[in-house]
Assembly symmetry: C2
Homo-oligomer: 308 residues x 2
Amino acid sequence: MSQIYGKVALIGLGLIAGSMAHAMRAAGLVGHIAGHAKSAESRDVALQLFCDSVAVTAAEAVRDADLIVLAVPVGAMGAIAAEIAPHLKPGAVVTDVGSVKGAVVEAVAPHIPAGVHFIPGHPLAGTEYSGPRSGFATLFQNRWWLLTPLPESDAAAIAQLRALLEGIGANVDEMDVAHHDLVLAVVSHVPHAIAYTMVGVADHMRRVSQSEVIKYSASGFRDFTRIAASDPVMWRDVFLTNKDAVLDILGRFTEELFVLQRAIRMEDGEHLHAYFTKTRAIRRGIIEAGQDTAAPDFGRGAEPTKGS
Amino acid sequence: MSQIYGKVALIGLGLIAGSMAHAMRAAGLVGHIAGHAKSAESRDVALQLFCDSVAVTAAEAVRDADLIVLAVPVGAMGAIAAEIAPHLKPGAVVTDVGSVKGAVVEAVAPHIPAGVHFIPGHPLAGTEYSGPRSGFATLFQNRWWLLTPLPESDAAAIAQLRALLEGIGANVDEMDVAHHDLVLAVVSHVPHAIAYTMVGVADHMRRVSQSEVIKYSASGFRDFTRIAASDPVMWRDVFLTNKDAVLDILGRFTEELFVLQRAIRMEDGEHLHAYFTKTRAIRRGIIEAGQDTAAPDFGRGAEPTKGS
């Protein structure tokens, strides 16, 4: 593939930035990859693994960059935008990879100078690991990357960014900022809140030992711990910055749970059976859409799984 | 391996019974596998795939059997036990595979004649599929199989059953009936109740289309739908028969969720960060115990996952 951007600046050097760098380099999509992170150790690792240069300040890293990727926690985006704003090249594209879009737009957009294109984005990809060593080139393969362009966003700049993201394997969709935050509250933020809570409950149970919780986790609990193992700073910021949508969906969840709880208490077998039958249809849809495999145990069986 | 039982009778011919039959046959652990299911179609499939004989009644299937496996929904165990009781061979072993043990013991034990050994059991293994075609020989490999022997259970009979279960790949643990039901409420039953509920909430959201929920499910929701896709009859019976432990844990879950919800509403970032950091430790324990793999995406990446 031919080069899409000359110099790219990655601000924040964690899982997403590292994976982008590996993937952009593998596909030959960019000329020079500069990086900045607050931590000197992260900068050293990034320089060894995937950056052509690293800078001690974000301002220095973005100099002459054609594409700037803000890959820091959502709560840190505003300060970074303020710092880099005076150093952005006219015509440059600024994007971000935050899990919440309304709060990022609010914090970043006011700092972006005229002539620079800000196109907020969000890759739906990740693992339970974080840091500059955790990235890998195939993270975005066949994963969705949502862009939430602003009314004033330039069509050519959007097309160029799409080309880069598709070049590293992602499927790109565009949607409105507020709709993004509601959809993500449903499919990601509230499921994470619930998973964290269930892991917390298990942790408190004194009559059930932690070793039992761990040994017998394959019976359902394991899937909760997986999503509850993500980066704590990232998730703190998600809940603080997508508060309204999260509280809305959490309220609906609690109501729905109380109805199920009442059916259990009243021993209403018909209600339970009808409810559990309905949820199967959504699961079938996910397999048909290719967003999961129906293989038993999802390939986990390939790993040794003998417990202690 | 040498033969452990002569004739085995499988009552109920779904995922668990089918997988046991495939595994016992592959390892040469039993002489003859008889089966019974209410459905003539299930009997036909089982006869083709894994049974040496099938019987129209459970009473006929258990005649002369050395091991009888009750593999029907928990709510059907009592009636089956009453039916087969007069036909059990002295010295035979009766076990079951129900997800709840207290209710099964209550329903089954009174029917078991003197001289027959009843040893309740529960394999922590399954897929989201059910029925006689869904079984496979490796389902129990390195999975836990919990036995909850009764005070009067015969040690030699337990040892013989353990040998069979270990012969088909399971790791066997023994525990008290009531403790089993509490542990399973924490690691399995309540996580399933929560997953069903979250899938229900997503299904009701009119502002978020079902296709969006499915397309973007990889960001967390997918793991909920997987555990919410299990057999509705089985799960109805689990909640009806392990009601007390499930309501206890659901109550703790709701309290815990309200604390998290309040921290989000009050924007208490410190609380959120501390809470999310703590849950990582349990996740690490599960990977260290070999009950999951840390590989990115759990091998799902091996399947084509391009969404529509």
